[in-house]
């Protein structure tokens, strides 16, 4: 199939964190305007807006997020759409944008995500997040979202051996990376012991095995590569691979809880389109909603054989420097933060920064090919993108 090549020409994001004084409008304005300024284009070139958001209707009483973002950013009457696929809402927006630009429908579009979460109490946020699973069959019997991944961890231990130390090492590594990222919510290094001693959420997960509750927003400008070369002086980062796959929403229906079929299938589509193999990837922002998830993702993306993810972390193979593939140099959902609908776009922000060579103290050496991996719910939705500087 001969689609048009698509690239990222501008990126912007807010600092992630507990931002009680900032509204959704405020967060969108900062990140969206930053992305447009970064591309150095006139706003009038933007033909459509794709906006990822998971839960503003429940947590902030705000629907119609596409239209809201267009008004905030002064984009007048362009078409907008909000995409929702739980924690994959942001990357779904990019996937739709890629399809629209590939097809020739649009030349330049804006893609964003935003979420405001920290103003609600823990039980309300937990209840909202539980809607990423099946509310009738899971949440209503007492199953929380973290508890599903705790069950996945226990099943992983049963099938492949205890990975508790490796899970804690994931948290330690991501916090160390986050400490170098000015946009990260957590900028403190932690120890293995601190992870073990954290407040227990759902055994074996402590609070340090869980991603953060975060306010934040991220935007990117996406353009047809042939058009990009005419309108921006910015380094053009081509989206060489795009994949999107689904799986059963309930954990009980899945064929396996330790291999995510949606990741396998989305990755296969993206690798095939990009004509690269997992071994070609220099850095990857993977969906570490929980520490066990990062380990499973690095296996499912083909970086390490099944069951070898824990050993890979413990032997430094996922380290930012000197490893096989740098995993979550931004700090990931664990330390950078997880503003749910913005997360998929915030992952792209990091990969583009790295491929441009602009990541400063957290720069991955020789970063040529980067990957983003974003899952929604219990890996019921997965979107993978692969990036490289355009020729």
């Amino acid at each position: 199939m001969n689609y048009r090549s698509v690239s990222v020409i501008g990126i912007g994001e807010t600092k992630m964190g507990r931002l009680p004084d900032r509204s959704l409008r405020d967060l969108i304005a900062e990140a969206g305007n930053a992305a447009i300024a970064d591309a150095g284009i006139d706003k009038s070139l933007i033909q459509a807006l794709y906006m990822g958001n998971f839960n503003a209707q429940y947590l902030a009483f705000q629907g119609h997020m596409g239209s809201l973002a267009a008004e905030v950013l002064g984009l007048r009457n362009i078409p907008t759409v909000r995409t929702e696929g739980a924690c994959a809402s942001g990357s779904l927006a990019l996937r739709q944008a890629v399809i629209a630009v590939q097809s020739g429908l649009y030349d330049v579009v804006l893609v964003g995500g935003a979420e405001k979460m920290t103003h609600r109490d823990t039980e309300t946020v937990t209840t909202g997040i539980a809607s990423a699973g099946d509310f009738e069959l899971e949440a209503s019997v007492g199953v929380t979202f973290p508890s599903v991944f705790a069950m996945i961890a226990n099943r992983y231990f049963y099938e492949y051996g205890n990975a508790r130390e490796a899970m804690a090492a994931v948290a330690v590594q991501n916090h160390a990376n986050g400490a170098l990222n000015p946009d990260a919510q957590m900028q403190k290094e932690i120890t293995l012991q601190k992870v073990y001693d954290g407040v227990k959420i759902s055994d074996p997960l402590t609070v340090f095995d869980c991603s953060l509750v975060t306010d934040g927003s991220a935007f990117i400008v996406v353009a047809a590569t042939e058009v990009a070369k005419k309108i921006t002086k910015q380094k053009i980062i081509e989206i060489i691979g795009s994949g999107h796959a689904g799986d059963y929403i309930t954990a009980a229906q899945k064929e396996s809880l330790t291999t995510f079929a949606a990741t396998i299938n989305a990755a296969k589509e993206a690798y095939t389109m990009a004509k690269v193999t997992p071994q070609d990837i220099d850095l990857a922002e993977v969906h570490d909603c929980f520490t066990i998830t990062q380990i499973i993702n690095t296996e499912d993306l083909g970086f390490f054989p099944k069951g070898k993810g824990p050993e890979a972390v413990l032997t430094g193979k996922t380290a930012r420097v000197g490893g096989v593939v740098a995993i979550n140099p931004s700090g990931g959902l664990k330390a950078k933060g997880h503003p749910i609908g913005a997360t998929g776009i915030s992952q792209v922000f990091e990969v583009v920064k790295q491929l441009r060579g602009e990541a400063g103290p957290r720069q991955v050496p020789n970063a040529k090919i980067g990957l983003t991996h974003n899952i929604g719910g219990t890996a019921a939705t997965c979107v993978v993108h692969i990036f490289r500087e355009a020729k």
């Binding site: 209503s140 019997v141 007492g142 069950m151 227990k200 759902s202 074996p204 954990a251």
Partner: protein, 71 residues
């Protein structure tokens, strides 16, 4: 009806509706009817739980979901 534990966890941070029940055990249990997510009642702090362990059907909750209990 008996079922075996496919996987499980002790939940200590819950949604609004289950706030008064923590800590409690939920899991995926497997029987001839297939796998289902379920509450497993009768957990006491520190008791050993393992995958493959047998649990017993207790009752249907108000919404018609199966609730199991430890033997």
């Amino acid at each position: 009806m008996k079922a075996t534990i496919y996987t499980y966890t002790v939940i200590r941070s819950s949604t609004i509706d289950f706030k008064d029940k923590t800590p409690y055990v939920a899991g995926i249990v497997e029987s001839e009817e297939g796998k289902v997510a379920a509450l497993i009642e009768g957990y006491q702090e520190g008791m050993p739980i393992s995958i493959g362990q047998t649990v017993v059907f207790s009752h249907l909750d108000a919404k018609g979901n199966k609730v199991f209990r430890f033997e």
